[in-house]
């Protein structure tokens, strides 16, 4: 069952280009959505057994032969699997109507499913080399998807993304090699055990610095962020949502913190470095977002800034901070997915993303405007939406851990966030209607449906935040907070 998270999307992705020869549209649409729907249900069904047993370790059997591919599942990566399935399902629903612009649905879906498989694999595997492997699988698919439009801008952005990513991957691989040399093993369990016995201070410090740089680049932490504002806006809207909503979190945040918490163990030094980077990202990216008129570019900078919040929360090291960071990860995945899809709706409706050309759309396209407002307010942290609670928890955790300066930064930056999101609202949806947009119509059904589902999630998670937080986020955070012990317990 658990392997289906990796293999089912891969198999479907392999078939899709062939199916695309027969059916241009309907079958790829249905098949992709069904696959992701199945994975979502699958992840929900796993909740109970994992939470009651704690963790799960499985080996792949290939005709009775043990293949050296293991997967491990605990509260943390189950939470990630659920988030990936949920958001990517909404994104493919949106794509049903949106992809009419681009054509080549089958290829698009195939690449998208490869990316999902890569992310699922990255989340599930318990050894360093497989992490690198799936990191590259997801990344290669994303290079192709960023360039999917094949325009000069897309190609340039994709190239820049590729070139910087490769540097990051190289450093990650280098670091993995060094660790292998130190401990003689690659599996999390063995490395964790090996590092406990070994006193490898400076060498491990260099490895961690490489990891921070490599995964930090994937997560687009300042100053490793420069590829993202070009790559994310250039991709088709569903892919932007995928990249900003999921990929940077899985291949950046998840991978980094899985290694930091579960393999190496969190140390005060690491905590200080990561928190500083998170705080810098929050402020710098928020200021950069203010200076743009392209909706998607603003959203891209906003992603950097919000990832900063997630890192800041996770790096505190207290259970509450981890829980706040994970909760914000989920909320940001939902809300940023919503906003990027929504920017796709706007582009579909008007043909432009330039805020200066828009204006007064609210009256003409109430669903798009309303869902955009919900997403924006959720990220900006306005109660009672979901984003408010996760930011609040992060700030409370910062105060509890006596990081008053960072708490202040988090609060002030959320004002900046509200500022540029209200700028979008004012320029795009409020004010007098630009005469150019007299004839526009609301977006097609599936695009609106995806927007509405995600907006409802922002709202409902915010309203019922207390039970969701207790039963869903807190166990995931516990798995991470147990640190190295959690990994050592796998399979026992």
């Amino acid at each position: 069952m658990v392997f289906s998270f990796i293999f089912l999307p891969l198999v479907i992705a392999a078939c899709l280009p062939l199916i695309g020869k027969i059916s241009k549209k309907v079958i790829p649409d249905v098949l992709t959505n069904a696959t992701l729907g199945f994975l979502l249900i699958n992840s929900i069904l796993l909740i109970k057994p994992i939470f009651s047993r704690g963790s799960l370790l499985q080996n792949i059997n290939w005709f009775g032969e043990n293949v050296n591919l293991q997967i491990a599942l605990d509260g943390f990566n189950l939470f990630m699997l659920f988030t990936i399935s949920l958001v990517s399902l909404c994104i493919t629903l949106f794509s049903i109507d949106y992809l009419k612009h681009y054509g080549h649905q089958a290829n698009f879906y195939a690449l998208l499913l490869v990316m999902v498989a890569g992310m699922n694999g990255l989340v599930l595997v318990p050894d360093l080399f497989s992490v690198y492997l799936f990191l590259e699988v997801a990344a290669v698919a994303s290079y192709a998807l960023v360039a999917f439009g094949l325009g000069p801008e897309e190609l340039e952005a994709s190239f820049k993304y590729l070139m910087l990513s490769v540097v990051a991957s190289a450093f990650v691989l280098l670091s993995i090699t060094v660790i292998f040399g130190l401990t003689g093993s690659l599996s999390f369990q063995a490395v964790a055990r090996g590092l406990q016995d070994l006193n490898a201070g400076p060498v491990l410090g260099v490895c961690l610095a490489f990891f921070i740089m490599g995964f930090g680049l994937k997560a687009a932490l300042v100053p490793f962020h420069a590829w993202l504002p070009d790559a994310h806006p250039s991709a088709p809207a569903p892919i932007s949502a995928m990249l900003s909503g999921l990929l940077i979190k899985v291949s950046g945040v998840y991978a980094l913190f899985r290694i930091v918490y579960s393999v190496v163990g969190m140390t005060p030094a690491l905590s200080r470095v990561l928190m500083a980077m998170g705080a810098i990202s929050i402020v710098v990216a928020a200021l950069l977002a203010l200076g743009h008129n392209d909706i998607k570019r603003m959203l891209a900078y906003s992603s950097i800034s919000q990832v900063g919040y997630i890192i800041l929360g996770l790096a505190i090291g207290t259970p509450l901070g981890i829980a706040g960071g994970l909760f914000h990860l989920f909320n940001h995945a939902v809300a940023k997915g919503l906003l990027f899809l929504n920017s796709g709706s706007i582009q579909h409706i008007t043909g432009t993303r330039n805020l200066n050309e828009l204006g007064g759309l609210g009256k003409k396209v109430p669903i798009t405007a309303g869902t955009n407002l919900v997403g924006a307010l959720s990220i900006a942290g306005v109660p009672p939406l979901a984003g408010f609670w996760s930011k609040l928890i992060i700030i409370i955790a910062l105060v509890q851990a006596n990081h008053f300066g960072y708490a202040l930064v988090a609060i002030l930056a959320s004002i900046l966030t509200l500022w540029y999101y209200l700028l979008i609202q004012r320029k795009a949806f409020f004010g007098p209607l630009n005469d150019r947009w007299q004839q526009i119509k609301e977006a097609p059904f599936w695009m609106n449906a995806a927007n509405i589902i995600l907006a409802l999630l922002c709202l409902l998670v915010g309203i019922f935040f207390s039970p969701i937080f207790k039963t869903w986020i807190a166990p995931a955070a516990d798995a991470l907070a147990r640190g190295v012990q959690q990994v050592l317990m796998w399979g026992i």
Partner: protein, 622 residues
């Protein structure tokens, strides 16, 4: 009879209000008939509950001593009966006067809702319940004033709401203090000595009571409402219902909840407020040139007598105050209704335009004359009896100044009614209004009923005093003290009555002097007094609303908000608007310039970042 009968006077009018609201506007007759029949049922309920005298209903409600607690006894039964009587008369009168009103559905609904709330307030035996009904009345008052449909009606309605709300707020705080010091919210379980904290509670609750009754300085919305609200509202609320409720509560406060001692500080507060209200309001009434506005100032002035009477804390004074309350409700309602009758036929209430209507509207003129003489305290009408009792009480306190204030009030009351009656009904027939005739009987009948009641309560003062007033005071006087105010109530040959009569003669003289001086124009008869040196300036200030606490409060708040805007808000705004934005812009532009799209540049940052992280890790790990 079952205890739940007590809920009838509250629930029944509320249900009727809903039904009346739902009847479409085009259906004419059914509404009036239903309203009239229901008011008769309520009147019957009033009588039957009055005959019961004692009944209590107690059910748990919100906990913490907040119970659903109603109590009918001597006093509340009497007020309930009076309320239902006035409701009946007003409904009868409205059936003609208001029948073409464009918002007639709302009018009847609000009137009956107000009746339901008033009955609830009178019957409540729990402070929270009392506050609930008391506050709800503010809403109906607000709504009824807006039905005046004048451009300024809403403004006046808001004014009444804010003044009433402030008074009620004060009452709630007083109740809170009472609760804190006694631990109970049941009204008949509270009996405090007004000292220290309890004295503050007394003052706060008293403000709530006299604010409802419309005493100074909480009166300022009433003269505005006289012009802005329907005249039936004036007869209904400020003339009868609010006086009954306010004075009822004031009497409860001074007799039951607190023990008011003769000559104590609290009693002096009441006496001063009473005397000031009498004199100041009557001076304002004197110079009014509009019939309804003149009456509204008297509605304020007369409250002074009631407060003065209760403030004496002497049985005859208290009885006089309460008796004056019911008397005032009768003749003032009669006066407003006759003003309404004149307005109904001539379309105006400006004294200047009216004159000599007595021939064409004889019944209205008769009713007006009786009520006007009653309010002036002319022997042998009811006003004479209750005022004499208040005078006696005021003299017995040992501070004759209060009696003198009351007498001054009597002089100018009579003078202003001489002026009003002279200019509306008597004197030469005015040429500004066309020939007219008497109003329909549903309008005239309530006026006549009230006039006859004024005569009855005066001549047979034994009837109300023994049935209504004395039982309220029973048990409050020292054992053995006589409790009969009826003996010699109409005696003209006592020094007090002599002074009162002298006052009336002075008033007559003043009126004729003024009438002669102003070229035999009755509506200008008060001008000599209006133009007296100091008074003239005071009047001018008053006309400019200088003494109106509401207007002054509004001005002060406007000033305060301007100051806050200029010196607090703008500087803060400057920081946000200019300082924060320009700092933010500066960094935004700076960072933006760094993102020049060069791959090498970005790669350099990445490597540089790696170096910094490496350095930090190694440094921290040492």
């Amino acid at each position: 009879m079952m205890a739940t009968t007590l809920l009838w006077p509250i629930i029944f009018p509320a249900v009727i209000a809903l039904i009346l609201f739902l009847i479409p506007r085009r259906i004419k007759l059914i509404r009036e008939v239903l309203a009239l029949l229901s008011s008769m049922v309520i009147l019957y309920l009033g009588f039957s509950l009055f005959s019961l005298k004692n009944l209590a209903l107690n059910a748990d409600w919100l906990g913490m001593g907040i119970n659903f607690d109603f109590r009918l006894y001597q006093f509340s039964a009497f007020i309930l009966l009076a309320l239902s009587g006035f409701l009946f008369l007003i409904t009868l009168y409205s059936s003609i006067k208001m029948k073409d009103h464009p918002r007639i559905r709302e009018y009847y609904a609000y009137v009956f809702l107000a009746a339901a709330f008033s009955n609830g307030a009178v019957l409540a035996n729990n402070f929270v319940l009392l506050i609930f009904f008391w506050e709800a009345l503010l809403i109906t008052t607000y709504a009824l004033i807006t039905l005046g449909l004048k451009p300024t009606s809403h403004r006046t309605a808001v004014k009444s709401l804010i003044i009433g709300g402030l008074c009620d707020f004060s009452m709630i705080m007083g109740i809170g203090l009472v609760w804190a010091s006694t631990g109970t919210l049941t009204m008949d379980a509270v009996h405090l000595e007004p000292q220290g904290l309890a004295a503050a509670a007394f003052i706060l609750m008293m403000i709530g009571a006299i604010g409802k009754a419309g005493a100074m300085p909480f009166h300022t919305w009433i003269p505005d409402a006289a012009l802005d609200a329907p005249v039936t509202f004036m007869a209904f609320m400020p003339a009868s219902f609010e006086k009954l409720l306010g004075i009822y509560l004031l009497a409860r406060i001074s007799l039951d909840f607190f023990e008011l001692k003769v000559g104590s500080a609290m009693a002096m507060v009441l006496l001063i407020i009473g005397a000031a209200t009498i004199v100041l309001a009557v001076f304002m009434a004197l110079i009014q040139k509009d019939f309804k506005k003149l009456l509204s100032f008297h509605a304020i002035s007369q409250v002074g007598y009631m407060i003065l009477g209760i403030g004496t804390a002497i049985p005859i004074g208290i009885a006089g105050g309460i008796f004056h309350m019911i008397n005032h409700a009768m003749y003032k309602t009669g006066l407003f209704l006759s003003a309404g009758s004149v307005e109904h036929r001539t379309g105006t209430t400006e004294l200047k335009k009216l004159g000599g209507l007595a021939k064409e509207m004889p019944w209205t003129a008769f009713g007006f004359s009786v009520c006007a003489l009653a309010i002036s305290g002319v022997w042998p009408l009811n006003g004479f009896v209750s005022k004499e009792m208040v005078f006696h009480g005021a003299l017995e306190t040992g501070y004759p100044i209060f009696a003198i204030a009351a007498w001054v009030g009597a002089i100018f009351t009579f003078a202003s009614f001489l002026k009003a009656g002279h200019s509306v009904f008597f004197g030469p027939r005015s040429t500004e209004v066309p020939k007219t005739r008497e109003s329909q009987w549903p309008i005239v009948l309530p006026i006549l009923i009230l006039a006859i009641l004024c005569i009855t309560f005066g001549v047979y003062n034994k009837l109300p005093l023994e049935n209504f007033i004395q039982p309220i005071l029973a048990g409050r006087v020292e054992p053995g003290e006589h409790l009969d105010f009826t003996s010699g109530a109409l005696n003209l040959f006592t020094p007090v009555a002599g002074v009162s009569m002298l006052c009336l003669l002075i008033a007559l003289g003043l009126h004729f002097y003024g009438w002669k001086r102003s070229g035999k124009k009755a509506y200008l008869a008060s001008e000599p007094i209006h133009h007296l040196p100091v008074l003239k300036q005071l009047y001018d200030l008053s006309e400019a609303r200088f003494f109106d606490i509401y207007e002054q409060g509004v001005k002060f708040l406007a000033w305060l908000s301007r100051v806050l805007f200029k010196f607090i808000d703008r500087p803060i705004d400057f920081i946000y608007e200019k300082v924060v934005v320009s700092v933010g812009r500066f960094f935004t532009v700076l960072f933006q310039k760094a993102h020049n799209g060069q791959y090498a540049n970005y790669l350099a940052w990445t490597i540089g970042g790696l170096m910094v992280v490496l350095w930090a890790m190694l440094k921290l790990l040492q």
